[in-house]
């Protein structure tokens, strides 16, 4: 008996260095980037599972939404299913210059803009437009911003300068920038529960629309002239006196080596296309039905078998 145990121990000892260093997988995994919001997670799993079905090994790597593009350009990560025009445009374009591949645009359109919950309209009926909102700015004031209203803005590094727009439109608001998206939602949830007026940065598609009722605030429609010609727009003395695009793109990003290394997977990635309603449905499974993102992806594939088949 003692000999047997010694034998086993010997085997374990021999196996150990092997266990520490060996790598027997001949087919390298495709690494899909994951961010920390619902739709992106579910869609990543959807694409991942489709690729796995086709026999590829897939791994998921969490990443920051700005850092990821350089990682994709370098080939450290391979595919990102959701790249947003509003918050990621500059990082995306910089990475494309460095060799990242723009793998096509989804049918889904995105919008990022000031947003109010619907109950705000009861106390401030004109809040749907920027002039109307500005007239009841004081309703949105807090101790620090009084008498100006408070606009809860996106993290400073998302590359949007709302302070400038407020100045350009001469609005009676002050932008308070949060540090991360979760902070926006915490502010919204807290105000929403107490029916307190709030105006904050929001975007679509995301899980907020399935949980909170509200609408975007209309600003003067954007145009190239708005940012170049002072006379353009409501304020003749300033540029930038307009809103964000109503229909921004949602793109896919890929590593340049994919086409050569995994031609089959690459063609799937090029074909992958989500619409607004499909993205909302995917997010809903998690945010309202309480599924895990991975389960939700399985359910989504089941529900959209024909869509998946067309890739």
């Amino acid at each position: 008996m003692k000999n047997v145990i010694k034998g086993i121990a010997a085997a374990a000892v021999i196996a150990m260095p092997v266990a520490a260093f060996a790598e027997a997988e001949s087919d390298d995994p495709i690494i899909i980037v994951q961010n920390n919001w619902t739709s992106q997670l579910v869609l990543s799993y959807v694409v991942g599972k489709v690729l796995e079905e086709k026999g590829y090994t897939v791994e998921y790597a969490p990443s920051d939404s700005q850092l990821q593009f350089q990682a994709i350009a370098d080939g450290d990560m391979h595919f990102q299913v959701e790249a947003w025009e509003g918050s990621m445009k500059s990082a995306f374009e910089k990475a494309v210059e460095n060799g990242m591949i723009d793998a096509g645009t989804h049918s889904a359109l995105t919008r990022e803009e000031w947003w109010i919950p619907n109950y705000v309209l009861e106390t401030c009926p004109g809040a749907g437009s920027w002039q109307g909102l500005d007239r009841c700015a004081e309703q949105f004031a807090t101790a620090e911003t009084k008498p100006k209203g408070r606009f809860v803005g996106p993290p400073a590094d998302w590359g949007k300068n709302y302070a400038d727009r407020i100045d350009a439109l001469e609005m009676n608001f002050e932008a308070i920038n949060v540090g991360q998206a979760a902070t926006l939602w915490a502010e919204l949830q807290s105000a929403y529960d107490r029916k307190e007026p709030i105006v904050l940065f929001n975007w679509t598609p995301n899980f907020i629309e399935s949980k909170f009722e509200g609408q975007f605030v209309d600003f003067p429609a954007p145009s190239a002239a708005c940012n170049e010609v002072k006379e353009w727009g409501p304020n003749p003395n300033a540029t930038g006196d307009c809103g964000a695009p109503h229909s921004g793109w949602l793109k896919k990003a890929a590593w340049s080596g994919l086409a050569e290394k995994y031609p089959g997977a690459w063609s799937v990635m090029q074909n992958v296309d989500f619409s607004n309603s499909q993205i909302a449905a995917a997010a809903l499974l998690v945010d309202v039905d309480g599924m895990e993102p991975e389960e939700a992806a399985e359910k989504w594939i089941e529900d959209n078998a024909d869509v998946v088949a067309s890739w």
């Binding site: 021999i14 790598e23 001949s26 979760a182 902070t183 502010e187």
Partner: protein
């Protein structure tokens, strides 16, 4: 007057005799300077002159760019070297993943090798078993050493086998180690180290992880921990030995370590992410770098405190230099070394949670995701899981450090000595067999479901509990907001904002003068020079404003921590019953991930400095409580008795005897509180701030690494300034009290 109280008084008068003249003049000069600044603004500079600014930020950023793209060492591109290191580290991480939660064909192969070895050693000799084993494992060796050059037919053997095993239904064999086996293993380890109590703690903790559906994420986190801990420990020991051997090394490495420990966790991510590929490897490297200094420190301490007699006796027995190190000095310092391991494990675990920002899967990633979705209940469950794992790791490593050598080992049979190991092996084999039929043995189910005659009944679902907690927090917020908000507004308007504005308004020479005066008074020339150069670093590089915002936030948070923490510590020192409640609370506060405080803080207080201060306090308060408690508990019994014998009341004794004696210790607690508050500014940046912490966090996503590294360094600089001044003060005071 009693001896004890007289002593207390004497100290006071002593200090009172010296201090006013020095501090009164410092105070007067400061006041005059500030008055002058009010009357004639603009004469005293409130900012460094832009034309004299040192462009450290651009310089660092271009250096890093250069390292990444152009630098070469012996003709090999630096980038290729970091890449190669990253690739090499991927393998152990991957194997940890296979074993802990993923499963892989190679695992089945190793199992078969072990069975084969067992069988061969039974029917033949140990030597033959060894040979059989090596031969059998050769495909895995080949695949590793030859890479793509290895013949496909051989390297694909394990994979072919897994297909075969799948067909005969023995899928379990190539799965990860079943959770039941790991849980039992941890409990057995607990029993071996600390008896039934620790075993019970371990077992309950494992059950929590399984019940709350966080097992897989815990294992994901542990993959980095199990790889990082040995690496950090090894590097730490080597550096520690080097420092004790070489004066030059000591001179270079010691201050680097001081700096490394003062830099917030978050600041490690940016530079590492800049040099290495993003992903688990970055997290691993940042973790190793962060967790290594305590090991080196403990090694140095262990080697330096070995009693001379032990070394002498080693020499007399004819030890060589290396024998004297490995066989004499290191073993005799085992306890200190194990404390080092304990520190490494704790730091590693704390870092892995934060490293999720740079691509580590696991508990931290899940936690951030839950917070992003406002799933506070789930976040709390995950937070508790993190605390639970941290506490188990702490108790196990600490228990092992305290464990006494079994002096009866020789009389016990082989089986008796290794009974924990044997039981674990049996459980391991049994669970693997059970896994063939029951998948729940491998990974715990997401909820407890009982399938009876009437159908399925859900016994326990962590999601339901989480939703219930969500509701509770929201309900509390809804009701409490109206009462809390006026307080928040008042404090913000009348206290926080004025203080912040003061710090921003103050000319920098005044700040330098006051800090310099304190450094000179307590630390002398060397501390003064150190503080001056550290202050110069953030003044001349154009970070004055951000640094002052951080200083203001941290000072206010530290003040509040002292106001809350010291009384709690006093109370705990008075009442053992309260101490028994408070100490576990402190453990939890310190291990509970501070991210979670952020969301309720925002809900209650909105974005702003009030929320920031509130989020810092729970974490930074702990040392204030602990050091006060320990400081009071460590007062010599004779001192206390002398005071009692002289008829002091309880309060007199506290104010006139105990607190003055304990004050150096309490000040060291304040020191730690400041360090932790500084580290927290990188986390409160997620609420929304414009200080150094925000720069650190933002640099990760904007890839402005120069800025991030500098901001991290300046946070450390503030910590070191506070540490040196307070530390010197406490030392001087201890000497005055005759307890230093």
């Amino acid at each position: 007057m009693t001896d004890a109280t007289a002593n207390g008084h004497k100290v006071k008068t002593d200090a009172a005799f010296k201090m006013p003249s020095y501090w009164a003049s410092v105070f007067a000069i400061t006041l005059l300077a500030l008055l002058f600044h009010v009357i004639m603004p603009g004469v005293l500079p409130d900012r460094w002159w832009p034309e004299w600014e040192i462009p450290a930020e651009e310089w660092l950023t271009t250096r890093i760019e250069w390292l990444k793209s152009e630098a070469t060492i012996f003709g090999i591109a630096f980038k290729d070297i970091t890449r190669a290191i990253g690739e090499a580290l991927k393998a152990p991480v991957k194997w940890a993943e296979y074993v802990l939660y993923r499963g892989h064909a190679n695992i089945a192969w190793i199992w078969l090798a072990i069975i084969l070895a067992g069988v061969v050693s039974y029917v033949s000799t140990l030597r033959n078993a060894f040979i059989a084993c090596v031969l059998f494992l050769s495909p895995i060796f080949l695949a590793f050493f030859l890479g793509d050059a290895a013949p496909e037919a051989i390297t694909s053997l394990p994979k072919t086998l897994s297909g075969l095993l799948k067909d005969i239904g023995a899928k379990a064999l190539y799965g990860p180690v079943p959770w039941v086996a790991i849980a039992v293993g941890i409990a057995l380890l607990g029993h071996w180290i600390g008896g039934w109590r620790l075993a019970l703690l371990c077992a309950l903790s494992m059950v929590y992880l399984a019940l709350f559906n966080v097992w897989k994420d815990t294992m994901r986190t542990m993959t980095i921990v199990v790889v990082a801990v040995p690496m950090a420990a090894f590097i730490g020991v080597v550096l520690g030995i080097w420092v004790t051997r070489s004066k030059l090394a000591a001179r270079i490495i010691t201050p680097v370590f001081d700096l490394m420990q003062a830099v917030p966790h978050m600041a490690y991510l940016a530079p590492v992410a800049a040099l290495f590929a993003l992903g688990p490897v970055t997290a691993l490297i940042a973790t190793v770098v962060f967790a290594m200094p305590p090991m080196a420190r403990c090694t140095i301490l262990a080697l330096q405190t070995v009693p001379e007699e032990i070394i002498e006796s080693g020499k007399m027995s004819g030890c060589t230099r290396s024998q004297s190190l490995w066989k004499v000095a290191l073993p005799s310092g085992k306890r200190t070394l194990m404390l080092g391991i304990n520190q490494v494990v704790m730091q590693t675990f704390a870092m892995v949670v934060i490293a999720s920002i740079a691509g580590a899967q696991g508990l931290g990633h899940k936690l951030l995701y839950s917070l992003q979705q406002l799933k506070l209940g789930t976040a709390i469950e995950l937070g508790i899981a993190i605390s639970v794992v941290a506490i188990v790791l702490d108790r196990l490593t600490q228990g092992y450090a305290d464990k006494e050598t079994d002096h009866f080992a020789a009389v016990k049979s082989w089986g008796q000595q290794h009974k924990h190991m044997l039981i674990f092996l049996i459980v391991l084999v049994l669970t693997y067999i059970a896994a063939i039929w029951f998948r729940d043995v491998v990974i715990p189910p997401s909820k407890l479901v009982y399938t009876g005659a009437e159908g399925k009944v859900t016994l326990f679902d962590p999601k339901v509990l989480a939703r219930w907690m969500d509701g509770g927090i929201r309900e509390f917020n809804k009701n409490a907001f109206d009462y809390i908000n006026p307080i928040r507004d008042w404090v913000t308007l009348n206290f926080l904002i004025p203080v912040r504005n003061f710090f921003l308004w103050m000319p920098w020479p005044v700040f330098v003068f006051v800090v310099g005066a304190a450094a000179w008074r307590y630390g002398g020339l060397s501390v003064l020079l150190l503080c001056l150069s550290l202050m110069a670093s953030f003044i001349v590089t154009g970070f004055w404003e951000e640094t002052m915002k951080t200083t203001y936030l941290v000072l206010i948070a530290a003040l509040l921590c002292v106001l809350i923490g010291v009384p709690l510590g006093i109370w705990a020192a008075r009442s053992d019953r309260f101490a028994k409640i408070l100490m576990p609370v402190c453990d939890t506060l310190q291990t509970f991930p501070s991210f979670i405080y952020l969301i309720p803080a925002i809900m209650l207080f909105r974005v702003g400095d009030f929320a920031n201060v509130f989020a810092i306090i729970p974490y930074a308060m702990v040392p204030a409580i602990r050091y006060t408690y320990l400081g009071l508990k460590r007062i010599p019994q004779v001192t206390v008795e002398a005071a009692i014998a002289n008829g002091t009341t309880k309060w007199q004794r506290l104010w006139k005897v105990e607190l003055p004696v304990a004050i150096p210790e309490i000040m060291l607690g304040l020191n730690q509180t400041i360090m932790m508050a500084l580290a927290m500014t990188a986390i409160t940046a997620l609420i929304g701030s414009t200080d150094l912490g925000q720069e650190v966090v933002r640099s990760i996503s904007t890839q402005n690494f120069g800025r991030g590294i500098l901001a991290g360094f300046f946070i450390a600089a503030l910590g070191i300034i506070a540490d040196r001044i307070i530390g010197s003060w406490a030392n001087e005071r201890k000497k005055q009290l005759g307890i230093g």
